[in-house]
Every structure is written in C-alpha cells, then in structure tokens.
C-alpha cells in the first residue's frame, strides 16, 4: 500500500488560515490502513482545526467527509453537489488523491494533509517500511523475492557493496543490508546459483527517470 504520515498541525493551519469554510476530505484506502488519512484522522484534524479557529475568535465552518477512494472519478463525484459550500479542501489522501481532487475541482484550492512517503508493508502495529519503488521492471524473480532496488540504499544489482557489515547497511546500524537479506534467502531456497548470475544493466527508463509514467490497457478501455 501507499504509506503516508500526518503533516504537522501547524503546517496545515498555515495553509488554511485565510479560509472561512474548509472541507477535510479523507480516503478509505491506503491512508486509512496506515492511520494517516482515514475517517478517524479526518475527525481528529477537523476537531483540532475547530479548536484552533475558536480560540482565534473565528467561526470557520469545518466539514468532514471520507471517500472510498480519491484516485477514482466515480468516488470524487460524490462531493460535487456540496463541495461548493467550501472555500478550500484539505485532502488526507496520498499525493495521488490530492492531485486528482485538485484536477477535478479546478476552482477549489486543495491542500495536502499528509506527507506521502512510499509503497510499503505493515511490519507490525505502528511500523511501516518500504518494499517497492515502482521501478517498472520487476527483478524479484531473480533475487529471492527481496528487492535490491528498494531494500538496498544504493540500489545496486550484483551483490552487496563494501559498506555491508554484519548484515547491516553502512547508512544505519538498524537497517538490514538488502543484499545480505537476498543472499540469506537464496541460501534458504538452495538457489545460490542465481546469485552468481550477473544482472545486465537495468533499463531505468521505466522508472521515474523516464518521466511521468502511464499504463494504457486497450482491452479495458471503454
């Protein structure tokens, strides 16, 4: 899922300080699971904003709404009839949702309420870590199911660098060396022969380096 983290309240207050009516718009998908932008976080932010403006002696209308997704036209259409009641939207969706909402409602300022971080997994309650960088050319078949692009700090493709010590990466003693994980996994699978194979130079044009990407599925288009 896409993992996001809440923005500091003072940053959000600074975005919306000049508005008289604000819609706090949540998303029921990834940001709900990582507890950054679901219905509950919408309630918390709306409550915090109300208390802030009350103390300033201002009666600002703060609305709350959480959509099933903010990255789909059909769900964003649900607010079309009442979005005009607001001067601005604080979207607690990931960056995709914020942008899609802004594209859909051109005359309305849309502010981000979270910092979108990465595609990751929920390791344990309250801990999420990166697992995929969306490089557009998946290598997991050859690396024992552990990604050298997202798990190695240098994104190198043919074994660990000289900074790998006792299974940890040189950038942090807390961070496992991605290549150590791959080697351990290949050993466990009895596939160390795969480790000996040299990966060809990766085509990075399928990654972000090739500019904004798009998937078009002719079989699905209407």
């Amino acid at each position: 899922m896409i993992v996001a983290d809440k923005k500091p309240i003072e940053e959000i207050i600074d975005y919306v300080k000049d508005h008289q009516s604000i819609l706090v718009l949540g998303c029921n998908e990834c940001v709900t699971v990582c507890e950054a932008g679901g219905k509950k976080e919408v309630g918390l932010l709306a409550s915090a904003l109300r208390m802030h403006f009350l103390q300033q002696g201002r009666e600002v209308n703060i609305g709350e709404r959480t959509l099933e997704r903010q990255c789909d036209h059909e769900y964003l259409e649900e607010i079309r009839n009442n979005v005009d009641n607001y001067e601005a939207v604080v979207s607690l969706a990931c960056g995709v949702g914020v942008q899609f909402t802004a594209e859909k409602y051109q005359n309305l300022p849309v502010y981000p309420g979270v910092n979108t971080l990465f595609m990751g997994a929920n390791e344990m309650r309250g801990v999420w870590s990166e697992r995929c960088q969306g490089c557009g050319q998946c290598l997991l078949a050859h690396s024992g199911g552990i990604c050298p692009v997202s798990r190695c700090a240098k994104r190198i493709l043919n074994g660990p660098c000289g900074g790998s010590t006792a299974g940890k990466c040189e950038i942090s003693k807390e961070l496992p060396c991605g290549w150590q994980l791959i080697i351990d996994r290949l050993k466990a699978l009895g596939r160390m022969d795969d480790y000996e194979k040299i990966s060809p130079i990766k085509n990075w044009s399928t990654e972000r380096a090739g500019g904004p990407r798009k998937v078009v599925r002719e079989d699905l288009k209407l």
Binding site: P8, I9, E10, K40, G43, L44, S47, A48, R50, M51, H52, L54, Q55, G57, E59
Partner: protein, 130 residues
C-alpha cells in the same frame, strides 16, 4: 469508604482505557472540557494485556497536539491504579482538580462562551427588530 472528590469531575465508565480513542478525547476538549484524565489499571495488570499501554501512548501523542493548539497538554493526563484502590482514585481526582485550577479554564471553553454570547445577542437583536 465514601471518599469525597470534586463534583466537577464527570466519570465515564469504559471497559478498558484501551477503548478510549483519540477522537473521544479531542471531542471532549472541543465541547469545552477543562481537562480530561484516564484512569486505567496498573501497568502490566491489563486484562487485555495492552489496553492501558495503548491509552498511555494516545495520551502522550495528544498532549503534544494540545500543546501545539495552545490548549495545554497538561490538561490531559493518564493515571494507573488498582481497581480496588479507592483512596488512590480520590487522590488522583484531587491532583487533577488542582492541575486544572492552576491551568485555569480551557481557552476553547472561553471561546465557546463568547460564541454563545454573540449568538444570543444576535437573536435578541433580530427579536427586537421583529
């Protein structure tokens, strides 16, 4: 024991402090509460193992948020005691009461009172015109 504690304190019974959501606490302050405190079981004694630790983490997180909002994190506290410890319950109630006396009324409550006054003045003005 019939131990006295301040009548300004309203008790809301819950099965476990782990049930208290951050939103419940925020809504209390939004409605004008001067302070909120959770009284959970002693650490390590939770019937649900983690309930009072979860409550503690939420309280610590919200204290920072309340500080940032200018309401004051000290208005929110977490206490732990054994369910049969009446004297301690009364002592914590007194401690919290003193804490709130020192902090004064919640700025949100004062703001809400001002809004109400403005609204009733408006209503009276409309009534006078009619």
């Amino acid at each position: 024991m019939r131990l006295p504690y301040q009548s300004s304190i309203k008790i809301i019974r819950i099965p476990c402090t782990g049930k208290v959501d951050a939103l419940h606490i925020m809504r209390s302050f939004e409605k004008g509460a001067d302070g909120v405190y959770l009284v959970g079981c002693r650490e390590g004694d939770c019937h649900f193992n983690q309930g009072n630790f979860r409550a503690k983490a939420r309280v610590e997180h919200l204290q920072k948020l309340l500080d940032k909002l200018g309401i004051g994190g000290q208005r929110l506290q977490m206490y732990n005691l054994s369910s049969s410890d009446g004297p301690m319950f009364a002592r914590y109630a007194e401690e919290m009461h003193q804490r709130i006396l020192e902090a004064g009324p919640s700025p949100v409550r004062l703001a809400l009172q001002k809004v109400k006054k403005r609204q009733s003045a408006k209503e009276q003005a409309v009534g006078a015109v009619l």
